[in-house]
């Protein structure tokens, strides 16, 4: 029993490590980009620190998002929760809101297109279209 738990822990730990590694890789890429843009070299320790902080912040974000969703008596995390999370930083909030609106618009347009297509198409073609729509969605 204890061994199993230990194994579980180890599994979790290794899982965490892999996640951290993935985050670190992504952060490294982004930092390289920024460094080349600003022409400011970034040391490896800096990149490592940034990735560590990012990882911990992700944990916090996840907990907060879950709290917010539960606060709104939902079981699914919504874009509203994300916006609430990002409210502190104005620019980030604006960015997220814009993206959200874009996506919403995009979805609406797609739906409108699909509807038109459905109307135009024959009934025989409709099932195929419906499938396509669903897959696209």
């Amino acid at each position: 029993m204890e061994d199993e738990e230990g194994a579980d822990e180890q599994q979790q730990f290794s899982y965490q490590q892999r996640l951290k590694a993935a985050v670190h890789y992504t952060v490294g890429c982004l930092c390289e980009e920024v460094a080349s843009d600003r022409e400011v070299p970034l040391s490896k320790q800096t990149v490592a620190a940034i990735s560590e902080v990012t990882f911990r912040q992700c944990e916090n974000f996840a907990k907060d998002l879950e709290m917010f969703a539960r606060h709104a008596k939902r079981s699914t995390i919504n874009t509203e929760d994300v916006k609430l999370l990002a409210r502190r930083s104005n620019s980030l909030l604006r960015y997220i809101t814009e993206k959200n609106e874009e996506i919403a618009q995009f979805n609406l347009e797609r739906k409108a297109k699909k509807k038109k297509k459905l109307e135009d198409e024959n009934h025989s073609v409709q099932p195929a279209e419906a499938e396509v729509m669903e897959s696209e969605n």
Binding site: D64, M67, F68, H71, A72, K73, E80, D81, L84, R87
Partner: protein, 571 residues
Amino acid sequence: MADSYSPDNEPTTRTLLRRVLDTEYPRTPRRPRSTPAGARKALLETPFSMRLRSQTKTAAKRRSHRGRSIDRLAHIQTSERLKEQTPRTLLENILLTAPESSMVMPESVVKPVPAPQVMQPSSPESSRGSLELQLPELEPPTILAPGLLAPGRRKQRLRLSVFQQGMDQGLPLSQEPHGNTDASFLTSSPNLTFATPFQPESVQRPGLARRPPTRRAVDVGAFLQDLQNTCVALAPSGDSLNTPAATLPVDTVLEDTQPFSQPLTGHSSSMHHSLPCSSVSAERVVSFRTRSSGPRLQNDSPRKPAQHLAGKAEEVAALAVGSPNNSSSISGEGGLEPLQDEVGEEVEEMMEESLCVSKVKEAAGTQGSARAEEPETHTEVTEAKGSWRAVEDKEPEGSSGDKDTSASSKLASSTPEFHQAGQLQFLEPAPPASTAVLSSEPLEPVSARLPPKARTAGPRQRRDPYKTGLSHYAKLFSFYAKMPMEKKALEMVEKCLDKYFQHLCADLEVFAAHAGRKTVTLEDLELLMRRQGLVTEKVSLHVLVERHLPLEYRQLLIPCAFSGNSVFPAQ
């Protein structure tokens, strides 16, 4: 005869008088007469001596002595000694009545001005005399031995001077105290026993001479005005909530006779704006805010939150938050007004609550800073635990700390706060004026001072609520810092607190909106605390409540089984 009382080490008035009495003994013609009344006198003396010796002992003793002395007094009054009108009689009477009053002395000296003012609103029907009467009733239990010595010294000089005056006046003096203030002897303050007969308020409390005497006079006048206003206010306001609210602001509004009138012309327009939006809520909010704010300084404060609330068209929230505030403040105010110490505390909390409310209304408020301080400066708001509980969960430590603070510190702090507020009034770009509210400024000495200045400027009043409230926190901060602090440092602390509260209330508002609500509830506060890291998986809210709050508030937050019928508090 108990003549050989060794005077106590304490140089109190009693001791002095006792000494005088002792020296007087051989000369009085009483001696022969004392034999028939010797028993009575002996009885009298014993309580005196006991009182003298055990002056600093428990109040219970004094009470018992007082009871006895009262009997003695009755005896004396009926006895023929009254007719003697010798200095000895006078002294004896003084000594008889002194214990009761001396016990009260400390309080009256400590809070001479605020006490009467505090008393005023609480006892609208009481007459002038009862003003003083009430003082001892409420205060004696609080301060007895500790304050006795220090004020005693002050009172000594006072007493002696008054006594000498009495001596000079001779007969009339001895007669008057007996006749006029017989009843008041029991409960009136020592000063009054002497002074009331022949010296009106100005000399009533020479010990208060260090404070502007005008305050005293104004208080009474204001009190009478408040009485009238109360009658006036009660009539028009039919709303149950508004009635008590109206009375309260009226009580404290020294110049303004109309509860929600527009005392300042400039502010009336703004008031109108706010009124249409949410007349009821604004009124309610204003009413309780007016109650809380002082006459001059916080005139605008109540208006401001009211206006903002109305402007934001979040009336529901205002109503929802305002009504509990009102109800609690109404209930609180009546009970708390007489207690000066609590006023400041309650007000602080109330201000915090109102702060939250106002913040909820204005997320990014341009005058957010002003508003933030507004509610806090509602030092008068005897907002009590009900509303506090709803909003203040996040600040259990702060508010409980506030509540626990002693009255004197509160008093002292609130008074300078108002001074500061007055100075800072000009700075703030007040939003559309807070109407009328010559509202209830703290029933403190400040109110007496303020009425003359109340009409000065609109922005002044708006500024006060913010800074007054935050300055209170700054004072707490400096107190706990145990080190002298620069003024600039304190100002920075105030600014930080201001921003902190702004953020806090913005968060609360957002949380409430996130849940599709317009009212900030306990859930929102708990979420906030969780984000702050105060509430974790290991430490729940209940744990924090139990750790930091006194029992009364704990009971509000955590339903516990009472011996009565209700297991859970009715909500």
